[in-house]
Every structure is written in structure tokens, then in C-alpha cells.
């Protein structure tokens, strides 16, 4: 290994990257765009849910609960129909997405300590809003019940009203808090897998790769010279995304940078390995792009990056264990929000180490073989 030749290769790669007009926006604008997209659009929290309240009880308690819902900040009360039957047309017309029905006898049941039933009617068409809306409503009802119990000393035993939903660590359920750690890993994957495989394939397409290996440059030097710039690039991007996340989107950071760096280091070997494998499979940059998409789509869908793994159908869940991003997401999110360390996250670290070693060594073997033929 000659350090001066590696430095030369890195210098050359830097010049090529800096002059690639197609790549530059990809490197700097894309992470920013994704942050904005995921931070504001996808990750935006559900507020102003159009809501109807049917109060058939018309008592102090029912009015209190109604105003608790009204003041929670998530719901806008559009209608207060007298009858439950008038809800259907409201929902059909998309005028309300959630309705709270307080039946007659609500206060009486509460005071008797009986099971006091309230009904939440949710428009399930938009499943995400539906689950968020009912989650918020249950939470508000639960809080109201608890505070009422403290005042009156009456503890209800019916589950109908004591909704025991407690949201920890992300009390406002801000999706951006989970999104930013996810983006960190996702962008790292894009830079190392997609950009590096493109760079190697471009070199093969133009014949400069075969030229490299008739000069004194060794395969090891070539690989280090190729990987280093992309690791550096990915590091800059990761730091950028984390800073924007913490300072602009106010994502609370309770984590430990060492744990995050260790996790990402293992992950980057996996993604670089994937990039190298793609570069041996693809003959053209276009093919490399298609292979990257082939890899990316299951990764986005099955890793829990956007869709929670818990909500996936039973038979799909085992497949998610094969997605490296799954582990790094758990690790990053847990460390970001809860500050979980190595002792709690060792299963994730172990899984990622297995991926890093096996994928990277398979990539090295393939790369050598491809050159030898």
C-alpha cells in the first residue's frame, strides 16, 4: 500500500465528483430536500382534525370532556349534532374524520364507578390520520379521566373510558423525531451504495479501470482510494442532516455520539459492500442505477423507515430481519430519543456486525474475481 498513490486516487476522485454536474445536486440538494420533505410533509403531525361531538348526556361531565377534546389542540369541532344518526352523512361528505359520542347516562355511570362507555367513530379511509386521530382522542380521554379521578377520588374500573395509552419519549408523537434518525441512515446508504457503484461502473465503462491495473496501482490501493472519498462524503452528509434535525427541527437529542458513530461505521461497510457488489453486476451506469433501485425499494418499505414494522402483516415480518437498515434504524432512534447504549442495543450491533462482515467480504471476493476474469 502506497499512501501517495492512495492520496492521488482520492484527489482524482474528488476532482471528478466536484465536476460532475449531475451528481453535485444529488449530493447536497437531495439530503436537504429529503429533510424538508420528510420533516414537513410526511412527518407533519395531524392537527385540526375535523371533529363532531354528539353529546346525548348534556351533563357537567360530558361538557367537560367535550371541551377537553376541543382544547387538546388536535381537533376542530365542526358540528355538534344531537343524534348519532346524523354522523354518517357528515363522514360521507368528508366533513368530519372523527366523532365522539357521549351517550345518555355517561355522568351517572361515571359517578357510580361503573364502566362509562364513550364511542369514538373514526373515518378509516385515511388510515394514518385515523390511527393518529383515535390515538390522540384516547389519550385526551384518558388524561381527563385521570385528572377527574384525582379530583373526585373515584376510580373507574371500566376500560371504556380509562384508555391506558401512554406515549413515552415522543409524547407529542412528532414523526419528525423518528424521521431524522432514519434519514441519517438512509442518506448514508444512498451516498455509499448508489454514488460509489456509479463511480466504479463509470470507470469501467470508460476503460480507466482496466488502465489502473496495468499501472503500479494495486487493487487494495484502488479500493481504499475509491471508498475513502465516499465515506468522507457520507460523513459530511450525516453530520449535516443531524445538525439540521437537531437545530432546525428541534429533534431532541438524548443520545451518545460514540454509539451512533459505531453503528454507522458498521452500517457503512454494509452499504459500501452493496455498492461494490452492484458495480460488479452492472455493465453500465444505467444498470447500476436499476440495481440500486432494486435494493432500495424493499429497504424503504421493509426497514421500518416509513412504515412501522409492527403494522406489517405477520408473514412479512421475518423478511424484515434481512434488511440491514432495520437494525441501524432501531439503534439510531433508540439512541437519539432514549439514549440507549451498547448494553441495550447489543443485538442490533451484533446483527449489523454480521451484515458488515459478510457483505463486505463477499464484495471484496466478487470484486477480485471480476477483475481476474
Amino acid at each position: 500500500m502506497s499512501f501517495s498513490r492512495i492520496r492521488l486516487l482520492v484527489w482524482k476522485e474528488y476532482l471528478q465528483l466536484a465536476r460532475d454536474r449531475m451528481l453535485l445536486p444529488l449530493i447536497f440538494i437531495q439530503p436537504l430536500l429529503q429533510l424538508i420533505m420528510f420533516g414537513y410533509v410526511v412527518g407533519s403531525d395531524v392537527t385540526n382534525i375535523p371533529t363532531a361531538i354528539v353529546d346525548q348526556d348534556r351533563t357537567v361531565s360530558s361538557r367537560e370532556l367535550s371541551s377537553a377534546i376541543e382544547n387538546a389542540g388536535y381537533f376542530t369541532i365542526i358540528e355538534r349534532p344531537a343524534e348519532e344518526t346524523s354522523l354518517r352523512p357528515l363522514m360521507d361528505g368528508n366533513r368530519v374524520q372523527l366523532a365522539l359520542v357521549l351517550p345518555a347516562g355517561f355522568e351517572r355511570d361515571l359517578e357510580r364507578g361503573d364502566r362509562a362507555a364513550v364511542q369514538l367513530v373514526v373515518d378509516g379511509v385515511d388510515s394514518k390520520t385515523a390511527s393518529v386521530a383515535s390515538g390522540y382522542a384516547t389519550q385526551v380521554i384518558g388524561e381527563w379521566t385521570r385528572s377527574r379521578a384525582e379530583v373526585t377520588g373515584l376510580v373507574p374500573d371500566g376500560p371504556g373510558i380509562d384508555a391506558r395509552v401512554r406515549v413515552l419519549f415522543n409524547p407529542t408523537l412528532r414523526s419528525v423525531n423518528a424521521m431524522v434518525p432514519g434519514l441519517v441512515a438512509f442518506i448514508l446508504m444512498l451516498s455509499s451504495t448508489a454514488l460509489m457503484s456509479q463511480a466504479i461502473v463509470r470507470e469501467r465503462e470508460r476503460g480507466t479501470l482496466e488502465q489502473m491495473f496495468v499501472t503500479p496501482i494495486t487493487r487494495g490501493e484502488y479500493l481504499v482510494g475509491k471508498l475513502a472519498p465516499y465515506v468522507l462524503l457520507a460523513t459530511v452528509q450525516v453530520i449535516g442532516v443531524m445538525l439540521v434535525g437537531v437545530y432546525w427541527f428541534r429533534v431532541p437529542f438524548n443520545g451518545n455520539l460514540l454509539v451512533i458513530a459505531a453503528g454507522l461505521a458498521l452500517f457503512v461497510f454494509t452499504t459500501l459492500g452493496q455498492g461494490m457488489i452492484i458495480s460488479t453486476l452492472a455493465r453500465t451506469r444505467h444498470q447500476a442505477q436499476q440495481w440500486t433501485m432494486f435494493l432500495l425499494i424493499p429497504t424503504i418499505v421493509l426497514s421500518g423507515f416509513i412504515f412501522p414494522i409492527e403494522s406489517m402483516p405477520e408473514p412479512i415480518v421475518p423478511v424484515t430481519y434481512l434488511i440491514p437498515l432495520r437494525y441501524v434504524l432501531i439503534l439510531l432512534r433508540a439512541n437519539f430519543m432514549k439514549g440507549s447504549g451498547f448494553e441495550a442495543l447489543w443485538p442490533q450491533f451484533a446483527a449489523m456486525a454480521v451484515f458488515a462482515v459478510s457483505i463486505f467480504s463477499a464484495a471484496l471476493a466478487r470484486f477480485h474475481k471480476r477483475l481476474a476474469d
Binding site: 492521488l8 482524482k12 465536476r19 488502465q211 491495473f213 496495468v214 499501472t215 503500479p216
Partner: protein, 349 residues
Amino acid sequence: MPLFRRHRTDEPEPEMAPDASGTPAPAPTEPPPAPAAAVHVRGLTKRFGHFTAVDNIDLDVRRGEIFGFLGPNGSGKTTTIRMLCGVIAPTDGEATVLGFDAVGQAEDIRRSIGYMSQRFSLFEDLTVEENLKFYAGVYGIADERYEQRRAYILEMAGLQGREGELTANLSVGWKQRLALGCATIHEPELLFLDEPTSGVDPTARKRFWELLYDLAESGITLFVTTHYMDEAARCSRVAFIYEGSIVTEGTPDTLRTTLVNDTIFEVTTGDVDAAIEALTASPAIAEAYLSGAALHVNVGTRIDGPEVIASTLTTAGLEALSTRVVTPTLEDVFVHLVNRERASSVPGQ
């Protein structure tokens, strides 16, 4: 067996045609204590799975010569060069380059050779200067020597004042000369050129060959592959590889004498495809093939060539627009040799 299998250094510049140089061949000088041959290959074989790309070839390239390695596409030229540069390992056989073993001492080989491929292999998104700097750095050339080499290469390529230009913006001829400059920046003892002139216009090709002659004169051994026959004629010695085997080797002039007893006619006709079919089918005609826009017809030792050609074409409902005798070119030789090779590989013949 090929006719001109071996040339030994004890033969004084063999068979140089007097009309090529205008002067008699120079008197043999005292052989110096021979340095290792530029290339020495015995029984070299490369198989990819069941496909034999290079099949048990022998090659000897002497120092200072321009060695032409000829053959159609896919005949094993590039694979051979890749083995000689130590990029891929041979399946069998031995190869030494400049005295270094191609398998065990590949790194020594790569330090002392230059390589230029038909794709020129420049970094298109780097400038002329940056390309030179990169290759100078790869070979560990010191700053002072780099300044000299840079000046020399820029002049040779006609690129003075264009150092800051992106290589992508250069036209083919300049790219080609810059690639030659990059491949020789470390003044290698041996330069491999893999179809260095493909896709380059004739004027640029001529200029490029003048540069190659300059390099050869300065003592660099050149190992050139090409499928241009006029370029083959410029080499001091050629070997012809077909389907992985060396079919023949010798000087361009001795090879031409292979067909000294045969008569070759150039025939122009309307429908060349039908004409080739008709002529090939005739037992009186040895070979018929396309050469440029016309046909070349080898009638062997027959003296009634024109009559045979005319009657064969007439029978097929065709007409020869012109028929004239031509001096055999290297292309004619190679077509002849390839046909002979094919015939001998058909069982029962």
C-alpha cells in the same frame, strides 16, 4: 505448422525487402550480452470456463522492435496482453516480460511497461494537465523529471497552451496522443498498444504511427495489436492470432510471399454477396471474399483465372464489371491462412 515460426537473433535482419529500405540490410553487429527478451512466451493458455480464449501460444518479441499482434476481434489479442501485464493469471504456460515472470513478478512488470488501449483510458473529466499529473504520480515521477516529461508530451501531442482544457473536449486525435503521452510518461521499456488507432481518421493514424516510430527509435519496444492491414505492414515483425492460436508469424514481407504462387484478382460486380456465394461454391476457385468494396478472388495457380471467374459469374446470372490482377496484401495472406486453419479443423480433411 506455420511457415515462419522462429526468428533467432543470429539471423541478420532477415528478409527485409530491399525496396522497402532502399539500401541493403545493415551488416550484423556483434550481438551484445543479450538482455532478457522483451516478451518470451511458451505454451500460454487461458480458458474461461469451457471457452479457450488463448490456446497454447508461443511468442518472442525482441527488444527494440515493433511487434504487430494481429487478428480479428475476439481472437485472443487483448486476453494475451492482459496476461502479459499480469492483470489476469494464465491457465497454463509461462510468460516473461522484460525478464520478469508475468505471474510472480507482475508488479515489476507494471512498473516498467506502458499500456494504451483503444479506449484511450483518460479521465475525461480531468484536464490535460491533471491527467499527466495523475499518471506521473502513479509512477512516482519526481517533480523535476515531471516538468521535462510534461513539456515533451505536450509538444508531442500538440497540446501546448491547452493544459487546462478538459480532456472530454479534445477531439479524438488529441486524446489519442495524450493517451500515448500518459502511457509513456515514465519512459517504459516496453509499450503495449491495444488497437490504439481504432476510430481515428487516416490522417491522425498516420501521424500517430510517426510518433510510434519515434518511440521505437528511442529504443522502446512496441507491442501493437491492430486489425488494420496497412498498419501491420508498418511493423518490423507480425504474428497473426486466430481463435486463440498463432497462425503465422514473420516479417510483413516474408508473409506476403506465402501467396507467391497464387494469383489474386480484384473483381467488381453488382451483387457482391451473390457473387461470393457463387465463386466460393466453384471448385476451380480457392477463395473469394470482400476486400473494401470489391471482391478478392484467389484462383490458386490457375492461369485461366479471368475466364473461370467470368463463366462462374455468368452461370449465376451475374456479371464481372472489372477483373484485374493485384499484388497480394497481408489481408489476402491472413484470409488464406484463416481458411486453411478452418479447413484443417474440419474433421476428415
